[in-house]
């Protein structure tokens, strides 16, 4: 099963809102400004893994480039082999 970009953003927003942080409207916002912490990233990773029903590859060089929420979406899209909508 593949996952769409809007599903990934929706997961990110669910995690943010569950932790009393506002949802992201503009995905160019920085992860730090959005309050998206390493624990949140790890949670989204597990949720994406559950959706695609397999463990995702995590490549350090790609993760290092993550600065914005859009980068997070790009990362999971690529890691999960998602279709671009």
């Amino acid at each position: 099963m593949k996952i769409q970009r809007d599903e990934i953003l929706s997961l990110i927003n669910q995690v943010l809102q569950k932790n009393d942080k506002p949802p992201v409207k503009d995905d160019t916002i920085g992860v730090r400004d959005a309050g998206f912490r390493s624990l949140d990233f790890s949670e989204v990773a597990l949720r994406v893994e559950d959706l695609v029903d397999r463990e995702l590859p995590f490549e350090a060089a790609t993760m290092r480039r993550i600065a914005t929420i859009k980068d997070v979406v790009d990362f999971f899209e690529q890691a999960a082999g998602a279709d671009v909508v």
Binding site: F41, A45, F58
Partner: protein, 419 residues
């Protein structure tokens, strides 16, 4: 114990000061006349902590360090029961307790949550915290970045290195932003001791060019199981560095040092009489006898300690396989306790049964996950999840709040009638 007055500490403002200068400032800041009995210095950051440490060492205080963010009711109770007066380092306010214990100059407590989740004070001395003498003298001057939680056993070990070993300098880390703190000081760091998780985060947060430019010569890893992939990565980044992983804990002290860049440790270490620590395996568990242990600090250096760590001997190597029972989940180097989380969940009026376990997760190594059975039909799962998360956030540190939830229709009962 005498200390190396001219070793330096870099503060959070980026300025260097010697231990002698730090002591002088502390003595000016604090009225020593009022510091009688057992003192718990309450500090806001690493700068205050090192100032309190050198003051306590120089004046033979019976002391320990507690960061303000750890000063929960449970910790206050543990300190109170141990007869420790709280001294607010920045405000210079002493909160005396009526219950006092015998004053022991030179005693140092380490506040730990151990494997049970309950706050407790583990007694040490500067001698048992200073674990370096058993190794070869450090010939190179080194500047150590210290990312450990202030007041933890690992933090004291690093501070003792700076206090007692010639030419060993310390960089205090900003606990609020460790990665930025690391990057800001990257060009000065020649040595670092940290958990594997910290290196994984650094690997993912700092660009390759900066990583390779760090003049690091000595890397120590501990606090978690060290995997071969990380050892290989560090070996590739710093081919000339001395890379070692160390088995140490608050209770067992420092016991095993592995320098061959391989995961696990050589089987030859078992039952081999050593100058400061001996180790053995029985029933797949690791036992340690160390002169740096808590038992040694209490005059029982020959006591064998059951570490609760499971090990497996494969050919000529002994590998760590986790903890006996799942008493602790290691979330990025921070402890979360399933039984404690379950106990809080069961306080919620809708929860009938709860089981918390670890799930492997990127970046932080593991996250707690919860399986629940409710006393009555639930509303939307996402609403329940948000409510329970909020419920737990008021009771537990954020890393201990389960991140993935499973809602079951019935309590799963095994043949043993256990769940």
């Amino acid at each position: 114990m005498s200390y190396k007055q001219f070793n330096r500490i870099r503060g959070l403002d980026g300025c260097d000061a010697s231990w002698a200068q730090t002591l002088s400032r502390s003595e000016t800041h604090v009225d020593l006349q009022g510091l009688a009995g057992r003192i718990a210095f309450v500090v806001d950051n690493a700068d205050e902590a090192v100032a309190a440490v050198v003051l306590g060492l120089r004046h033979h205080l019976d002391m320990g360090i507690v960061t303000r963010d750890r000063l929960t009711d449970a910790v206050r109770t543990a300190l109170y029961q141990a007869g420790a007066h709280l001294f607010d380092f920045s405000q210079r306010v002493l909160d005396k307790v009526p219950l006092t214990t015998a004053h022991q100059p030179g005693r140092v407590f380490v506040l730990t949550s151990g494997t049970t989740g309950a706050a407790k004070l583990v007694d040490h001395t500067w001698q048992t915290l200073n674990t370096r003498p058993r190794e070869k003298a450090l010939v190179e001057e080194e500047t150590w970045f210290v990312p450990y939680q202030v007041g933890s056993y690992a933090w004291y070990q690093m501070i003792c290195l700076g206090l007692f070993q010639n030419g060993q300098h310390i960089i205090n880390a900003d606990a609020n932003d460790l990665v930025s703190s690391f990057t800001r000081n990257a060009s000065s760091i020649t040595a670092m001791s940290s958990t594997p998780t910290f290196w994984r985060v650094i690997n993912m947060s700092v660009d390759e060019a900066t990583l390779r430019s760090i003049p690091i010569r000595s890397i120590s890893l501990g606090g978690e199981i060290v995997d071969q992939a990380l050892l290989d990565r560090l070996g590739s980044l710093y081919p000339e560095a001395d890379i070692r992983h160390i088995y140490a804990s608050t209770e067992a002290g420092a016991a095993i040092v592995v320098k061959d860049r391989r995961a696990g440790f050589p089987k030859a270490f078992l039952d081999r009489p050593q100058r400061s620590a001996s180790i053995r395996v029985a029933d797949g568990r690791l036992f340690v006898q160390s002169r740096f242990s808590h038992a040694a600090a209490c005059g029982r250096a020959d006591q064998w300690l059951d570490t609760g760590d499971l090990v497996e001997v494969v050919d000529d190597r002994v590998y760590f396989r986790g903890r006996d029972k799942e008493t602790v989940i290691n979330v990025g180097g921070m402890k979360a306790f399933p039984t404690e989380i379950e106990a809080h969940l069961l306080e919620h009026p809708d929860v009938l049964w709860a089981h918390v376990k670890a799930r492997r997760a990127p970046l932080v190594g593991a996250l707690p996950t919860a399986s629940l059975v409710f006393a009555r039909p639930i509303r939307k799962p996402e609403e329940v999840e948000a409510e329970l998360s909020k419920f737990l956030r008021n009771r537990l540190p954020s890393h201990a709040v389960p991140r993935v939830w499973e809602f079951l229709d019935a309590i799963p009962v095994k043949a043993s009638l256990k769940s």
